[in-house]
């Protein structure tokens, strides 16, 4: 997998930060506009998949690694569990919000939804990327 032509490489290099930013926007505004952690994480994973298609697996594995994605996946899951348990610690129910509800329409509103969605976004992005990398590495190992 040596990658594609220079046109595809340039276009995907320019597009990657915008796609990544759009994924982050979908995650951070999950409680205000349609979207949320799951679609935003998949958009971020698709941005990295675009780089894998354009540049090849070796170049992408120089910048990120399998272990890094595994750690991020686990950290996202732990963040979700931590936000859920915060309710128990501060004397509310499990998964009940302990953050102030805020003004409707602002980014720090809606209690714990923002923090839950950040955890879900990290977890889904790392998880989908991890499945993709595992399948690519397995395919490469078998073809040898």
């Amino acid at each position: 997998m040596a990658g594609m032509t220079v046109i595809v490489k340039t276009i995907s290099r320019i597009m990657f930060p915008f796609v990544f930013l759009f994924g982050a926007y979908v995650i951070f505004h999950g409680h205000l506009t349609p979207g949320g952690g799951f679609p935003g994480g998949v958009i971020i994973a698709a941005a990295v998949a675009m780089l894998v298609l354009a540049y090849g697996l070796e170049r992408v594995l120089k910048s990120t690694s399998f272990l890094q994605a595994e750690i991020l996946d686990t950290l996202g899951s732990m963040a979700i569990a931590l936000v859920c348990i915060l309710g128990l610690i501060f004397g509310a129910y499990f998964l009940e919000t302990v953050f102030p509800l805020g003004v409707l329409g602002q980014i720090f509103s809606g209690g714990n939804f923002l923090w839950l969605y950040i955890g879900v976004g990290i977890k889904v992005a790392a998880g989908i990327l991890l499945i993709l990398l595992a399948m690519l590495l397995w395919d490469r190992g078998e073809s040898k």
């Binding site: 996946d73 979700i80 509103s109 809606g110 939804f113």
Partner: protein, 102 residues
């Protein structure tokens, strides 16, 4: 595919389409309204109407879908994300085991 079977399948598609269009237009509640539920002769609003009316002051989030996903049905979504985590772990485990065998 013979001509008779093609005519038969076209007729089946037409019948199903007419049934769907008829049922959507004439038997379902109007677009954007929730059906009412009736328990022991007592007519109440559906739970969707309750979500729409109470979501904003109960959770403070502007997106009502989010309030249902993480607020009213938070346990379901927690389990859902656990399912995804387990699926990722399963894929990694199986593919690594296959690679080690070679």
């Amino acid at each position: 595919m013979g001509k008779g079977r093609r005519a038969l399948s076209l007729a089946l598609v037409a019948i199903i389409a007419v049934t769907f269009i008829y049922s959507v237009n004439f038997t379902m509640p109007a677009f954007g309204t929730f059906p009412t539920r009736e328990i022991n002769g007592k007519v109440e609003n559906s739970v969707g109407q309750l979500y729409l009316e109470n979501a904003i002051w109960q959770t403070g989030a502007a997106n009502v879908v989010t309030t249902v996903v993480w607020g009213y049905r938070g346990y379901d979504t927690l389990g859902e994300s656990t399912v995804l985590f387990t699926a990722v772990i399963g894929v990694i485990t199986v593919l690594r085991a296959v690679r080690r065998d070679e």
